[in-house]
Chain length 315, copies 4
Amino acid sequence: MFLVSSSCPFSSRSMASKTPVGFVGLGNMGTPMAKNLLKNGYPVIATDVFPESRKELQDTGAQVVDSPADVAEKADRIITMLPSSPNVIEVYTGPNGILKKVKKGTLLIDSSTIDPAVSKEMAVAAEKMGAVFMDAPVSGGVGAASMGKLTFMVGGVEQEYNAAQELLTCMGANVVYCGQVGTGQAAKICNNMLLAIGMIGTAETMNLGIRLGLDPKLLAKILNMSSGRCWSSDTYNPVPGVMEGVPSANSYQGGFGTTLMAKDLGLAQNTATNTKTTIPLGSLAHQIYRVMCARGYANKDFSSVFQFLREEEGQ
Amino acid sequence: MFLVSSSCPFSSRSMASKTPVGFVGLGNMGTPMAKNLLKNGYPVIATDVFPESRKELQDTGAQVVDSPADVAEKADRIITMLPSSPNVIEVYTGPNGILKKVKKGTLLIDSSTIDPAVSKEMAVAAEKMGAVFMDAPVSGGVGAASMGKLTFMVGGVEQEYNAAQELLTCMGANVVYCGQVGTGQAAKICNNMLLAIGMIGTAETMNLGIRLGLDPKLLAKILNMSSGRCWSSDTYNPVPGVMEGVPSANSYQGGFGTTLMAKDLGLAQNTATNTKTTIPLGSLAHQIYRVMCARGYANKDFSSVFQFLREEEGQ
Amino acid sequence: MFLVSSSCPFSSRSMASKTPVGFVGLGNMGTPMAKNLLKNGYPVIATDVFPESRKELQDTGAQVVDSPADVAEKADRIITMLPSSPNVIEVYTGPNGILKKVKKGTLLIDSSTIDPAVSKEMAVAAEKMGAVFMDAPVSGGVGAASMGKLTFMVGGVEQEYNAAQELLTCMGANVVYCGQVGTGQAAKICNNMLLAIGMIGTAETMNLGIRLGLDPKLLAKILNMSSGRCWSSDTYNPVPGVMEGVPSANSYQGGFGTTLMAKDLGLAQNTATNTKTTIPLGSLAHQIYRVMCARGYANKDFSSVFQFLREEEGQ
Amino acid sequence: MFLVSSSCPFSSRSMASKTPVGFVGLGNMGTPMAKNLLKNGYPVIATDVFPESRKELQDTGAQVVDSPADVAEKADRIITMLPSSPNVIEVYTGPNGILKKVKKGTLLIDSSTIDPAVSKEMAVAAEKMGAVFMDAPVSGGVGAASMGKLTFMVGGVEQEYNAAQELLTCMGANVVYCGQVGTGQAAKICNNMLLAIGMIGTAETMNLGIRLGLDPKLLAKILNMSSGRCWSSDTYNPVPGVMEGVPSANSYQGGFGTTLMAKDLGLAQNTATNTKTTIPLGSLAHQIYRVMCARGYANKDFSSVFQFLREEEGQ
């Protein structure tokens, strides 16, 4: 395992020496990531389905082209950041996809969060064209993307890891090598499943403690010095008033939305079903976040499960 | 909130100055706790339903009597450590119970893990006799009891807390004041419910990651630096080979048994049902530990849920 | 097992020959039940905590007294119909309770839905006074109570069953003997737990089928001729438009309220926890009805779980 | 909706008038189905990956060929009966697949139980070749297949339904038209999900009732006359001794295996996840059957969940 916590090693060098980097997918996450490459002196050749997104990056200094195939023609290192598996399949293997014009030896890094089985399929398709595909999903949201503080979990051939790392350290604070292709996705999915379980568990535990007469701050303190401790209890407590600077202190605005958590749990459920793995709590966590999406919590931070589960006065 | 992490304040004093302490319930936990009181210079007046347990403590220097009522006659500070709610009710309010002969002003400290509603009933019954009842369940097992390293979570009238603390610090490393009577139990139950959820969550997450090709040690490392981190992932990992010195490294022997966890989750479920609190994951965790008891895991450490959920080869 | 589906065997007899029947608990269910006794020619001696309820029954011809003890003084057959376990304990064993003045040989029939363990306690307490206690909870709502169409599930000494049956057939269409004291409650709790599981299962199955393009009426028809068939799919379908004359055809008004189902599932959960019985789906059904109570579904029919689980447009 | 419960309408006609029917997939289900076509006078052209299966059908009078493509060359009505989605994809779109040599106007009927999304893909691929694809999964096991008593749930273009029905009635007792392509699968998946929920629910309810002192036969009788009634309680009761002629009366041998139920629940979970449908009990039922596969119940009938959940003596 390689864990790197450094800033971009080339950030002080002159632009002249750097070869261009392709970037496909200029959404909320992709745009700040591409900008960080530019800041670090990499010429960027980018595209997106939305013209406004292309325009924004062009104004920052990137060269914009029409399609993923065009990107592949001009760059031999390409990063993709897309919403879901079908988009990744289209961008790589579609009629104007990267693989239509990819050059031999090109390094393809996909930072989307998708089914690891799709990552493996893309790696096989890329290999047939003489290119190398790695999955490198991120943890951290839009804020971390802007500040270059993302964590990348990387799966793929180990020999290519150094080359990937050079670029990823310009966009993230931590880069972790996880193993063969798909293991980056696997690590991401596993972490978020346990996160969801810990968050719902913390929410219901805090609810129960309050009902039984405990002060929420005191209960959090006791849990955090005991075996109930978890990230959701000590760093991102879901009960308003227990911590400052977290979504629960701000009406559950900002943070990591319930729909995004439901999507990641859907990926966890699919990979578990397809590998015949038993995940009872992960499965129930998925169902809870799904029903929250149906009941008006879609755009609130995922810690709002505390509020969702809480019985109203008078019931 | 008061949190004390000191050793017993009187441990260097001479024995002569100390008044006797009563102790009812000389099981696996009660015996080492009573011995620590003796070590710290307190005369102990003890009883238990089993003659062998009485004999063992007598040999260590305690005075042994026939019934809880007899203890109450001779001591004005009494600690009880019993298996479950019905035992507590019997020991306090039964025909030979403490309250039959309790002296006015006696301090009663119950370290059993029971339903907080029963603690409240006992407090009311004690008050009628002019005595004071506090609940002070422990976290930590037989080992911690022997070394005087238990954590006590204390509920009861705040003015009496100092008096309780004097004794509890002889048997534990941490003493936490939680609030009114019953909140010690509430804190214990809440912690153990979140612990169970975190453990099952960690087990299924590790299982899924391994299925997806991740090395278990690496996955644990990634979780522990990310938002999936919890006590079960970083301190008590359930996967054999990931950590040393935990039950998973020793065929799930020792540690905290599945039946004990099932019992605590039953208490959590009862208090949640009776207070109309929604605990979806806590409820499912309870069911999982119940079915484990039925399928041969009753006496293994509760981290054996990793093994229970794991699909065998060839399925 | 005795199953009786007849009308009251004495309904055509003259009033003169009948000894009075006591009735405690004149709520939504108790009042029409007591009226049916009156209609069938039984003098009724009744009481309730609310004066208005007493007044209403007095106007129908009952004699009204001040307390359960007063009822016990004047009647040697008494029926009780109360909201929950604590009320039953109070009415039987409280300071003005039935057992304070109960006559030897009195037949006590409790039609409340409560914890079977409490029924057993009441039976023991009654036996000490020389009286006989039977539990006889009902299935069927206010409508069935008015029309004398309730089903009674009866637990208690078999020799007394005939005497109980005489009265119960005046209020119900079916009377079932279930076994020893507490088994009437057990049967009721078991039925309602399976009912809740079947209803939620039907709701999510119908939801899934509709999402997959099936017409709801056709899907119901297929399920009802196949192994998915259950009472909730063929008699009380939760999808608006599939059946006439059920709550789903009337905005989920009327029927069996979500809070009542949550209460019965709480009883099922408590008895399961206390007998160490694993009920994974029953447990989750309980949690779902609890969270529905918290999210505005408390007073809707329990089939509204279909609506609760349904994703809104645009999510 | 069309529901046909007749025997094969052409069974008395002479063989001469019938055109051949192709059959791919000669497993436990496919072989008796193909034999029923032969019995009804249809020439059958068949293939399978296993030579022994081909041999068996050849001995019964079928013409055997090497590949699905060869079947397509010789028959313009083809039935496929395969274990899972990947097999269906291979048999239709693989290098020697049906679509390589399919004739215009050919009717393709897939009786496999697979993801409805795959059925839709196959229909699109078939349409491109001028052929028509319908999904027609069955309910009923090997026995029903042998006796021609299967139920077919059919999805596809309505105009082609009559042609499909002609063949399906030779192999089944019921044929139900469900709607557009994929709805046959949807109906099958929905039914089996509700079946699984009903079975586990019945198992835990019977377990709880027995614990509470009810006679299992009496409890089943009460449930079956009440709102807890379902197919698993009244037709396929999981408790040994309650019914004759069901797997629970025969050590859970025969019937519908736990692995098969786990597979169908996996399909239900996948379609629910992909359509963002909330299925809390279906999800948990899936997890329970998965863990049963891991704990030695893989080859027992799915009603063995009664045994799986039951606490052993002495726990």
